[in-house]
């Protein structure tokens, strides 16, 4: 078992943080990589990006939004309990180098994925402007951590309950207009990444996004995670999860994410009835 040593609820209990004992993975993981977790014998294999690692303590941290049966099941796990299986580190690490000014844009739980990348980019000597957003103040996560990880932080909420009122893309546009931005990293819901990429394309600025298709093995053996990049089929678990944002077929990805929506509803519905 992979024991949970720390657990936090964020964004009003819709987002959960787990720090998990996994010394082998903690010793090897780099920013941008993910793990696959399985809670119990009957559970699904669920991919989550590592939001942090502590090689000394031998722990990894994941932060996830409760969206369906498996993440709801994860939410029930207490400190001292744990996951039956944790596999990783998987995927290619983020390519980190000094390029100058970088903008890191995060939406929703994408901020958790963005955090270690932001920190690594800053440590590599870049001027890192972070822009994070959520629907409202209550749903915003990791503000303090992102502030520490970046050179300057901008916060947006859709309803204006905190920070700039509006979408992250509005602040991003201002940055692209006023600064010599060399690289944009955008991580969040698929529509957000799509709009970020559309905008940076206009400014011709290189953009990295992190894709989250449905996965099973995470080692390149099933092809379930395939995404279309510049017209070519790639397996996100081994060729990604990060890709050139300007080459991604976002609409195809959004469709494929719906592959099992009926089954997911059925499964989550039953679980919610049994665990009110």
């Amino acid at each position: 078992m992979f024991k949970i040593v720390k657990r936090e609820e964020m964004a009003g209990g819709t987002v959960i943080l787990n720090e998990i004992e996994a010394p082998l993975i903690a010793g090897k993981a780099k920013p941008g990589q993910f793990v696959i977790l399985k809670a119990n014998e009957t559970g699904e294999r669920i991919p989550l990006t590592m939001a942090d690692t502590d090689p000394q303590k031998g722990t990894i941290t994941v932060i996830y939004m409760v969206v369906g049966k498996s993440t709801a099941l994860f939410k029930t796990l207490k400190v001292g309990e744990g996951y039956k299986d944790v596999i990783g580190p998987l995927g290619k690490p983020t390519h980190v180098e000094k390029v100058g000014t970088v903008v890191c844009v995060g939406g929703g739980t994408g901020v958790a994925v963005l955090h270690p990348i932001t920190r690594a980019l800053k440590e590599a000597g870049n001027h890192v402007i972070a822009i994070i957003g959520a629907r409202n103040k209550g749903l915003l996560i990791l503000e303090e951590q992102m502030k520490a990880a970046s050179t300057e932080l901008h916060v947006c909420t859709d309803d204006g309950s905190y920070g700039h009122k509006g979408f992250v893309t509005e602040v991003l546009k201002k940055m692209l207009e006023t600064k010599d931005v060399k690289l944009v990293v955008g991580i969040g819901p698929v529509p957000m990444m799509k709009f970020v990429s559309k905008m940076t394309k206009e400014f011709n600025v290189k953009t990295l996004v992190s894709l989250n298709p449905i996965m099973i093995d995470g080692t390149g053996m099933c092809g379930g995670c395939r995404v279309s990049i510049g017209g070519e089929t790639k397996f996100a678990c081994v060729d990604g999860p990060e890709f050139d944002g300007h080459q991604v077929d976002y609409d195809g990805l959004m469709q494929r994410l719906q592959a099992y929506c009926d089954e997911e509803k059925e499964c989550y519905g039953t679980f919610c009835k049994l665990n009110p």
Binding site: I87, T219, C222, G252
Partner: protein, 473 residues
């Protein structure tokens, strides 16, 4: 008549004993094993059909030279444990091989009795002896040599890796098996379905090895969690790589990323490893197609088609670009599939997949083929027939047209030489690779082959590793 001939005539009078099977109408909707096994009485009767040849063809036909007349003789005498012991000498997973080996092109294909009538049912007898011992035997551990203090890592827990582990633990070495998935067994667990090979059999074989001292570490993706060089740094003296041919092949035709087009690897992994056939009791979902098309005609295709039928399909079609003669699946699988109502569309190839506005598959465009001159594989090359386009409706397509070498481990180990197709180059006699202290075997060396060949390669490598640990590279 000489006494010998009287005996022979009597034997020929005994017909080949059939194994009872679930009726096709029943089994096509459940996941229970299809044939239910011999009783001791039928096994003894079948064993009596063997002529105990002095120069047995069957043994030569067996890739690992099991003493077939020997184990059959034990069954004939009612000594089932003795039969199982003899099988183990050459084959560490007889309960598996009895079920999945292509006997018709191996031992049974060259059995003398088969020249005139039906060959001795060697596979069925092998299965019987192994099942009997697993269920009734005392689980006595095989003898183990005194500890050598040497440590071996086996990467991959398919039939090949398990064979190496079993052999080397018996020789007194410490063995750890590293497996990427959360469960051991390789294709035996994630690929071959329950109705053909109950998972309980594989897990009991693995448990038996653990009892003998083999350590099993699941969730270890070698190349990611740990590299080969790190294994040596951790104190391992030798490494065996048996990671299989785990890379799905797609057709590279338009529409392949539609929802409802799956690789056989994905479909079977969901169904078998993740037990999606028990959804929602198990959490992993699977597409339950009503009109299912399976592309390909090997064992993988038959397993996919029969799984789809069991998941409630109205009709399942095997679409294959060559003819019946070229179908690579075991004869028994084709026969079982046909009995279960799977339809065969031969000399047919898809050219594009069609979908609806939600990106779900609705059908495919196909072309009829005819056979031309033989190609490199010696099989006649399929050529499209002009103007033969037609449309086939479907809501699930499972692509089972072969597998390739997964580069995850090899990319992280540049010293391992690979062939053009990405498979590891290893000496066929010893399994030695181009990297010192590393052996490889099974599908990652040969490309997709068979369980018994993967095991045979494992046995040779285990002997070579043992010699290396004693005498050097």
């Amino acid at each position: 008549m000489a006494e010998e001939e009287v005996k022979k005539a009597k034997k020929e009078a005994i017909p080949r004993q059939k194994m009872p099977e679930q009726a096709p109408e029943v089994r096509r909707r459940n996941f229970k094993e299809v044939p239910t096994g011999y009783t001791p009485e039928t096994a003894i009767l079948e064993a009596q059909r063997c002529l105990q040849c002095k120069k047995p063809g069957c043994v030569e036909g067996c890739p690992v030279q099991v003493d077939i007349p020997g184990f059959i003789n034990h069954i004939k005498e009612g000594d089932f444990t003795g039969a199982a012991r003899l099988l183990w000498q050459k084959n560490s997973l007889p309960a598996v091989c009895g079920r999945v080996c292509p006997q018709e092109v191996q031992c049974e294909g060259v059995c003398i009795v088969g020249k005139k009538g039906q060959p001795v049912a060697i596979g069925n007898l092998e299965r019987f002896a192994a099942d009997y011992e697993r269920i009734n035997g005392k689980g006595e551990l095989p003898p183990k040599a005194p500890p050598t203090g040497k440590k071996i890592a086996v990467v991959g827990s398919g039939p090949s890796g398990l064979t190496v582990a079993g052999d080397l633990i018996a020789k007194g070495h410490e063995v750890t098996v590293l497996e990427a998935f959360h469960k051991p067994g390789g294709v035996l667990v994630y690929g071959i379905p329950e109705f053909r090979l109950p998972k309980e059999i594989v897990f009991s074989e693995v448990a038996f090895m653990e009892k003998q001292g083999v350590k099993l570490e699941c969730n270890s993706v070698v190349g990611r969690t740990v590299t080969l060089d790190e294994l040596f740094a951790q104190g391992y003296d030798a490494v065996y790589v048996g990671v299989g041919a785990g890379l799905p092949t797609f057709m590279n035709i338009p529409g392949e990323n539609l929802i409802g087009v799956l690789s056989a690897n994905e479909y079977l992994t969901r169904a078998n490893l993740m037990k999606a056939y028990l959804f929602p009791e198990y959490d992993t979902p699977i597409v339950k197609g009503k009109n299912v098309v399976v592309l390909g005609a090997g064992n993988v295709a038959m397993d996919s088609a029969r799984t789809a039928m069991r998941l409630g399909a109205d009709n399942v079609k095997i679409v294959y670009r060559r003819s019946r003669q070229e179908m690579p699946a075991r004869a028994a699988e084709i026969h079982h599939a046909e009995e279960e109502g799977i339809e065969f569309f031969l000399l047919t190839a898809p050219t594009r997949f069609l979908g609806d506005e939600k990106g779900r598959i609705t059908g495919m465009e196909c072309l009829k083929m005819e056979l031309g001159e033989p190609d490199q594989s010696g099989r006649r090359r399929p050529i499209p027939v002009k103007g033969s386009e037609f449309k086939m409706d479907c809501d699930l397509v499972i692509v089972a047209v072969g597998a390739g070498a997964n580069p995850l481990l090899t990319q992280s180990t540049p010293e391992l030489s690979l062939n053009k197709r990405g498979y590891i180059i290893a000496d066929p006699e010893t399994g030695k690779t181009t990297k010192k202290g590393v052996w490889a075997g099974g599908d990652i060396v040969t490309g997709s082959a068979t369980v018994i060949l993967a095991m045979g390669a494992g046995r040779k490598a285990a002997d070579s590793i043992h010699n290396y640990l004693k005498w050097g590279w």
